[in-house]
Symmetry: C2
Subunit: 414 residues, 2 copies
Amino acid sequence: MIPEVLIARFAATATPPHDAMSIIRLALFDWAVCAIAGRDEPIARILRDLAEAEGAVGDRLPPARAALINGATSHALDYDDTHFAHIGHTSVAVMPAVLALSQGRTLDEVLQAALIGSEVAVRVGLWLGRDHYQIGFHQTATAGAFGAAMAASRLLGLTQPQMIAALGLVSTKAAGLKSQFGTMGKPLNAGLAAETGVLAAQWAAGGMTSADAGLGGALGFGATHHGAGDMAGFRRMGDDWLMRDVSHKFHACCHGLHATLEALKGLNGEVAELTITTHPRWMSVCNILTPRSGLECKFSYRMVTAMHLSGISTAAIDSYSDQAATDPALADIRARVHVHEDAALTEMQAQIDVTYDDGRKAELFHDLNAPLDPATRHDRLMQKARAVVGGAMAEDLWGAVGADDTRALARLIG
Amino acid sequence: MIPEVLIARFAATATPPHDAMSIIRLALFDWAVCAIAGRDEPIARILRDLAEAEGAVGDRLPPARAALINGATSHALDYDDTHFAHIGHTSVAVMPAVLALSQGRTLDEVLQAALIGSEVAVRVGLWLGRDHYQIGFHQTATAGAFGAAMAASRLLGLTQPQMIAALGLVSTKAAGLKSQFGTMGKPLNAGLAAETGVLAAQWAAGGMTSADAGLGGALGFGATHHGAGDMAGFRRMGDDWLMRDVSHKFHACCHGLHATLEALKGLNGEVAELTITTHPRWMSVCNILTPRSGLECKFSYRMVTAMHLSGISTAAIDSYSDQAATDPALADIRARVHVHEDAALTEMQAQIDVTYDDGRKAELFHDLNAPLDPATRHDRLMQKARAVVGGAMAEDLWGAVGADDTRALARLIG
């Protein structure tokens, strides 16, 4: 059995449940916040400047080019959502693709397509498996392109055979390497996934043919890209919706710090000393003891803890400044924060042992995998939006994702 | 040592020798013939229709889109050139990229860039090696994208660090699978290579950053795409020019038939019976004994031999018709043609044992690897051009590749 048929059938016929639709609406909102926040990043400017130099701006941008620019822009700050089941950022690939093709569609149709495409991205990512990621492929770009293509195909109303052709075309075009991390190549990968999704759907709609088993067949994408090929995830498509578990970032720093920052919310007193225990994997990722720049602050347990204890917003992008890195008051607090590793914790968990000024001791704990109820998720995302794009824009964006169509959203994204 | 530095230095500084420039001018001519001949193929129409629907046609096409369309169009008939050292079609990736960026450049600059880019494509292909191809990657698309990027980068005058960034960007974008063969995905792959080359050069020129060792480093393109990583070929860049050995197709059929068709030119009398001996590899590729359609004629030793003996042009695309497949006269001749395999021959060689009507016997032989002198190559390409696009267009194209710039060529390609 190859996955193409199952994916196309799901993408063409699935009817998403109400609760998953609520989550994808929040995901669209958060994605839009990230897209606006990333607007002045270098990758965004370079891509926009090129489009302008070629005479194609705003409404005159071909959908695929718009998807590329919005995908890269929204991933530029790495503040967008993640799905940990397959380690990929789903919205930066899928949302730009559906937004680029949303003219004349209702917002509900757009959200359905986005949800279905996101679900496909996660399932393809699970099917490709951990080896695919470990060997060097960036799932956001690879699995993401298949998801973006199914989202675009659903929105354009492709038939199942056309969707299979679209999957074949993605199979020969999808790409993206993790070795780009730390360069503009990382956000570019997200943009390329969104662009590939739009193009594959447009090409298939226009009658382009492709390998019937381009993804799952012999010499297909999976076979050539170290895919494991576990079909189990595809068989459950439509029965459960993995996008319910999408993770949103509420802090503008490395995801490895988030469980700690969530656990810190349990503090109730002045802190004398504090020990963070976390999974060993993060030691080489985000345990810079004495950060020297704003960027390094984003990868420092001690620093983000000191920021939290000083009442500095860890959600606001501007908080992670060179000035903060060298602030003596923050350095004093940092000195009272210790970091331990313990393989008994999962990568998503953090434990904090705190001694308060008054001599009390307490143990705090947070697991990022713990479900977040929709109301709390909404509130947290609104707080994040206000911190990142300001209160007025946050309200406008929330209004736009509740409108009848995407015109208001498209105007705000620009 | 990673290849990036060597490639960028070569692309930025190499001065091609005169004889290699003559070859690349012929390659540009032949590529243009293929691009015009492919114009009405479905893949070409689908891509043009999409561009038109999006309001971007002719002069208003962004260069990357023009490169995509021209790359796919020129490979649609599979009549374009091949470099057998790395098994890739070089011109369909490189020529559309330089043509798309040729405004304001002299033809000499364009040809230098094309030659240098083609040379890079072949060297990257050799560095990736046979495993890369065997596992399922289409070298025309993968190695071709690196060549197209260096051609575009040379033409845009990028610095060596910018060229290294361009190589990094290609590393995270290049893709293309052999499992697309037999579908429109195959010519699409060529177009994607050309498009990737243009975009990577434009992006790097605009300041986009990428992994410094995106091609040759840990988790780079080579490591993730089953590359062998033999550096020997890169070290000889600039000393010898492998593009001197590019192969042009003079017959509009499977390359496995070409040595036979060349050997048949040695006939001098009416043929009673004839036995072709060829490498075993071709038995499953192009030995259809009784073709039923024009397409199957392109994969039949017996059929193309019958066509040659009947004076039907094997260079003209129209010769391979459904009507020819069922023609009783051709079937009669076919019955006197036999095909044998012999592993002692190379894949590029064919031997023919002929018995003439008058009882004479003779042995004919051809090796496609035998060097072709430039004058003969020119004459053969002109004959091909006349058979494929007609005498007037052939003359116009030949004039256009001898002009001061590419304006005439761009007008003819459309």
